[in-house]
Symmetry: C2
Subunit: 576 residues, 2 copies
C-alpha cells in the first residue's frame, strides 16, 4: 500500500475519553473511529488487522472439521420464546419490531437459530457429530459500553455449535476445539492461557475460557507455578490447609472492642493478624415451602475473600447469592454485623476450609462491641459444615497438588462450553439413534471474540511509542520510509523496486511515499502503527551503500548493505 | 471436502413457496434455508459461493484503489436527521431504540456514516480523491420480501463512496469504478450489461446499472443491435421517427363508436391499426401559487406505452406523476376517458414524438361514443409541444443512431451514481481547496448486491438437472464420485490420491465418500449443486483402465485413461 493513496489517519493526541491503552492506541493509530456509544467504524488499518485475525480463526476452524455457515443478524422472537430466553435475557438483548409489528431481536448469540436449523436438517445419528461456525457481526446492548472495541455493542464474533448423541462424542469435539483454539492464539502470537471456567447463565457443565494475559484484564486467573493448572479465580479450588488443625492453646476470652466494626479494625485494635481471625457473613438460605428464606452464616478467615459463585452453588443457599438485610440480622441475631461470630450462633453455618483449620482465633461475640479471642472449633463452636467458599490467593497451594498459585489478570477472548441438552431439549432437536429411537441431541458451543482479540493483542504488546504487532496480524509487515522521495531518484528507485518486489511476493508493505511527509512524523507513525519491520532509505546511506533497518522491538537501528537488503528483509519477514 | 463430514442438505422436492428458479434451486441444492420472511441462513454450500463472489469483488475494489473499511450496521438517528433522510425514508428503514430509548436504524446504506467519518478525517484537497468500500450485512424492511436472497430483508452488499473536489475528478473515479465493475462481472463469468439508469431517490446525476440478463429479471433493458448502447427502458430515449410527417390525405370524419372505450376496442371496431391512432391520457400539472393543479393531456400513439419517469421530469407536470380523477375529467372536459382526443381539447398538451409524426390518424372526439378518423396535426389540432414520453420498444431505432433496439430482461446486481453534493452539503463535509478555501466535497457511490449475484448467476445458468456454476464461483470445482468406496480398495485409493493431490494444490473438491450413498443420488446431487466437473471412479472402469469424466454442460460422459486423469482434470480446472 502506498501511504499517498491510503487513509493513515494517525493522531498525536491521546483522546480524553479513552481509558485503556488499547483503546487509546487504536484511535491514535487510525484503526477505529467512534460513531456512537459502543459503535465503531473499522478504518483501513484496523480492518486489515481484524481480517487477519478472522482468517486465522477461519483456517483453524476449517482444519478442526467445523463447517462455516452464516446466520441472520436479525432473529424472530418466536425461537427465543421456544428456548425461554426471550423472557430470561435482560436488556442486553436489543428487541425491535419490523414494519408489520412482528417482534425480532439483534442476535447476541445464535443457539436458537442453529438448533432450529439442525433439528430440520439432521435426522440420524449417522450425520453426527456435526459442528458449524460463523464469523459475524453481533450486537449486545451493553449498559455501559467501554474500552473501545473491547466491550462494544456491535462486534465481530466467531461462534460455533456442535451436535452429538453421546457425552463421549461431545467431549471429543470439545477437546478438538480446545486444541484448535490453542492453535489460533499460538498463530496470532499471544501470551494466553486456557483456564477452567464457570458456565454462567449460558448453561451446561464443563467450560474453559481462553485469556490473554494483560494487566488491564477484567478477570483474575490463578495459575500453578509448577503445572499447567489454570482457572478463573471465580472457579479455582482453595484446598484445605495441610496437616491437622492445631490443638487449642489459649483460653476463650471476651474482650471489649468499642466501635470496631470491620475485621481489619478489630485485629488492629487487638494487635493481631487478620489471618488469625474469622469473619461471619450472613446470607439468605434457599426458600422453604412457604417461601421463607432462613439466615445462613458463611465463616471465612479474616484475610480471605468470599467467592460468591462457590457459595451460591451450595445446597441450602439462595442463588444468586443475597446478603441478609442488616435490620433482619439485628432482629434475629441480636447484634450488628460487625460483632457476629460462630460461638453460640443459632443459625446454620458454612465454614470455609481455611477458617475451619484455625486454632485460638478471634471472632465476634454476637454482642455489640464485644469479640472473643482464643476461640477454638470443637471446644467453643461446632465446625459441622466445612466447604470451599473463598477466592484463592497468590501463594495458595495449587489444587492439583503441584506448586503454588499465582494470580494474573486476563482478557477473555474465547470461551468453550459443553452445553448439554439445554437448547436441544427446549427446541426438541432430536435424531434417531442406532436403535432407531428418537434422542435429544447434546450440544457444545464455542466462541471467540474476534474484534476483542485485536484490542487484547495491543494490551499485551505496546510501548511508549505505540503498538507492537505480532507479525501474523500486523496491518503491514514492513514500512518503507524514504528520505526526500520527491527529490532523489536513487531513493525513489530503491524504494519502488523493493516495494514492487515484496508486494508481488505477497507481503504487506506500507510505502511512505507522501511527497511532503516529514521524516520524524513518518518514523513516529510506523512505530505508533506497530509495523514489525522498518527500512529507512536515504541518499546519505545509499552513498555509503547502506539502508537503515529497525525491528519494532529493537532499541537501535542497524545499517544493512543496500545490495543485500532484499535477502535481509525477506529473512526477517519469513522468520519472525 | 469430504461429503461424509459435510452438510450436503440437498432436497428432491421443489419447495412450494419458491417462485423463481434460483430460489428453488438454492433451497434444493442446500445453499440457503429460510429463518423468517426475507431472512436466510447461508448453509455451507451457499456460503462457499457467497465468499467467492465477495473475494472477487474485494480484489477488484482493491485494484481500483478503493480502501476497505467496516462501518456499523446499527446507525444513530442523529446523522440521518442531518441528511434529512430520517423523515424521507419510508418504512423500509428499520428503526429501533436502544435500552436508553435512543433512536437508531439498521443501515440500508451508509452515505451518512461515511460522510460523517470523512468530514472529520479529511481536511485538504491533497488527500483527495479518496474512495472507501465495505462488504457488509445490510437490512431493508421490504414490504414483500420475495425470490429468496434476490429480494431479502437482510443481505450482503458491497457499498463504496468516493470523495472529490471537482466534477472531473469524480468522473475519473466513476469511470474507474465502471471498469472495475465490468472486471468483477467478467471474472464471475456472467452475461451482463452496464446500462444507463435513472438516479431515482438516491439523488445525483449520472448513473449506470449493471444487469445480469435473465428472463426472470424485474427490469427491461434496451440494447442496440449494432452498438454498445444499453439503457434501462425507463431511461432509454425514443427518438423521433425519421423523415417528414406525411401530408394529410384523408378528410376528418366523426364516427359513432358506441361502447368502445379502449384504443384497442376502437381500432378493432373501425378495422384499423392501433399504430394509426393516438390515445390521450390526462394527468395533473404542477401546482400553481394557489396550489391548483391544471389538467395536462399526454398524447401517445395508440400502440405505445407511457413512460411515467420521462413524463414526470417535464416542466409543468406534477412529480410523481398523477392521473386525473375521472370525475374531474368528465366535469372539465365534458366526456369520459375513452373518448378524449387532441382536436378541440382546451388544456395544455404534450405530444409524444411518434404520435406527432402521424397523419390521417384516429382519435377521440371529446364526445362520448364518438371518434374522429382522418385527423391531422396542423390542419385539425396544433402539435405545439412535442416530447419523448413513451417507453422504447423492440425494433425502435437506437438513440445513438446505430442499429435498432432489442429489449431483454435484466436483474440489477450493481449500480453506480454520481451523487454530487447531496450528502456532503447536508452534512457540511468540506475540505480546503488549492486556494485554501473551504469547498463542499463532491461524492460518488457504488453498490454491488453481493448475495443477489449468487441468485442472478443461477437464473442465468441452470438446466432441468439443477444449477450450472461458472467455475469462478462454484462451491466445488470438481466432484469425485466413487462407486462402492467401502468395498473396493482400488476405487478408494484412486479417489483418495486424487482428492489429496488436488486439495493440496488448492482446488475445491467434493469427495462423495459417504459409504451408503447410492450412485444415482450422488450423480443427481453433483448436477443439482452445479459442480462444473465430475469424475466417476468405479471398479469396472479401473479394470479396463478408465475413469468417467463429465463436464456439467456436457450431454454425455467421456472415458479418460485412469493414468492420465490427473493431467486431464488439471487442464479442465485451469482452463475453464
Amino acid at each position: 500500500m502506498r501511504a499517498s493513496r491510503y487513509l493513515v489517519a494517525t493522531k498525536k493526541e491521546t483522546p480524553s475519553d479513552a481509558v485503556v491503552i488499547s483503546h487509546q492506541l487504536m484511535l491514535r493509530a487510525g484503526m477505529i473511529r467512534k460513531l456512537a456509544s459502543g459503535l465503531y467504524t473499522w478504518m483501513p488499518t484496523g480492518l486489515r488487522v481484524l481480517r487477519k485475525v478472522e482468517q486465522i480463526v477461519r483456517e483453524e476452524m476449517n482444519r478442526a472439521g467445523c463447517q462455516e455457515v452464516l446466520m441472520p443478524v436479525v432473529q424472530p422472537a418466536e425461537i427465543w420464546e421456544e428456548s425461554g430466553r426471550w423472557q430470561q435475557y435482560g436488556p442486553e438483548l436489543l428487541r425491535l419490531q419490523d414494519r408489520h409489528n412482528n417482534p425480532f431481536c439483534l442476535g447476541p448469540t445464535h443457539e436458537e437459530v442453529i438448533t432450529d436449523l439442525i433439528r430440520n436438517e439432521i435426522s440420524s445419528y449417522r450425520q453426527l457429530p456435526a459442528n458449524f461456525y460463523q464469523i459475524q457481526t453481533k450486537f449486545r446492548d451493553e449498559i455501559r459500553p467501554r474500552f473501545g472495541v473491547m466491550r462494544a455493542r456491535e462486534f465481530t464474533m466467531k461462534d460455533a455449535y456442535s451436535f452429538h448423541t453421546t457425552q463421549d462424542c461431545l467431549q471429543q469435539t470439545y477437546d478438538q476445539m480446545h486444541t484448535a483454539y490453542c492453535k489460533v492464539f499460538d498463530r496470532i502470537g499471544l501470551d494466553y492461557r486456557p483456564v477452567l471456567a464457570d458456565t454462567g447463565s449460558i448453561g451446561g457443565s464443563t467450560s474453559h475460557e481462553f485469556h490473554v494475559l494483560a494487566e488491564s484484564g477484567e478477570d483474575d486467573i490463578a495459575f500453578s507455578s509448577e503445572s499447567r493448572y489454570a482457572a478463573n479465580v471465580e472457579l479455582a479450588e482453595a484446598i484445605a490447609p495441610a496437616g491437622e488443625r492445631p490443638a487449642p492453646a489459649a483460653e476463650l476470652a471476651e474482650v471489649h472492642t468499642p466501635g470496631q466494626k470491620t475485621i481489619a479494625d478489630v485485629c488492629a485494635f487487638l494487635g493481631e493478624e487478620a489471618a488469625g481471625s474469622v469473619k461471619s457473613l450472613i446470607v439468605l438460605g434457599e426458600a422453604d415451602e412457604e417461601g421463607q428464606q432462613p439466615l445462613v452464616a458463611l465463616i471465612l478467615r479474616g484475610d480471605h475473600e468470599l467467592n460468591e459463585l462457590k457459595a451460591e452453588k451450595l445446597p441450602g443457599i439462595a442463588s444468586p447469592l443475597e446478603f441478609a438485610p442488616e435490620a433482619r440480622i439485628a432482629e434475629e441475631l441480636g447484634c450488628g454485623i460487625g460483632s457476629l461470630g460462630p460461638i453460640g450462633l443459632q443459625i446454620p453455618m458454612v465454614i470455609d476450609r481455611s477458617a475451619a483449620h484455625l486454632a485460638d482465633f478471634t471472632c465476634g461475640a454476637n454482642k455489640d462491641d464485644y469479640h472473643y479471642t482464643g476461640a477454638n472449633w470443637g471446644r467453643d463452636a461446632e465446625a459441622q459444615r466445612i466447604e470451599d467458599i473463598r477466592n484463592v490467593e497468590a501463594g495458595d497451594p495449587s489444587p492439583d497438588g503441584k506448586g503454588t498459585l499465582e494470580i494474573k489478570r486476563g482478557i477473555e477472548v474465547g470461551h468453550i462450553f459443553q452445553l448439554g441438552d439445554k437448547y436441544s431439549k427446549a427446541l426438541n432437536a432430536s435424531v434417531l439413534n442406532e436403535q432407531g429411537k428418537d434422542t435429544i441431541m447434546t450440544m457444545g458451543c464455542y466462541g471467540i471474540g474476534v474484534s476483542r482479540i485485536v484490542a487484547a493483542a495491543i494490551e499485551q504488546n505496546h510501548d511508549d511509542a505505540g503498538i507492537i504487532w505480532p507479525q501474523a496480524i500486523a496491518p503491514f509487515q514492513l514500512a518503507l520510509v524514504p528520505i526526500n522521495i520527491q527529490k532523489s531518484d536513487a531513493v525513489r528507485e530503491k524504494c519502488e523496486a523493493l516495494y514492487e518486489q515484496l508486494t508481488a511476493a505477497g507481503y504487506d508493505v506500507l510505502l511512505m511515499d507522501e511527497p511532503k511527509a516529514r521524516l520524524g512524523v513518518m518514523l513516529a507513525d510506523t512505530e505508533l502503527m506497530g509495523i514489525p519491520h522498518r527500512l529507512v532509505i536515504g541518499d546519505r546511506g545509499l552513498e555509503k551503500g547502506t539502508v537503515e533497518y529497525k525491528g519494532r522491538r529493537d532499541a537501535e537501528s542497524t545499517d544493512v548493505a543496500a545490495g543485500d537488503v532484499e535477502a535481509f528483509i525477506l529473512e526477517k519477514l519469513n522468520n519472525q
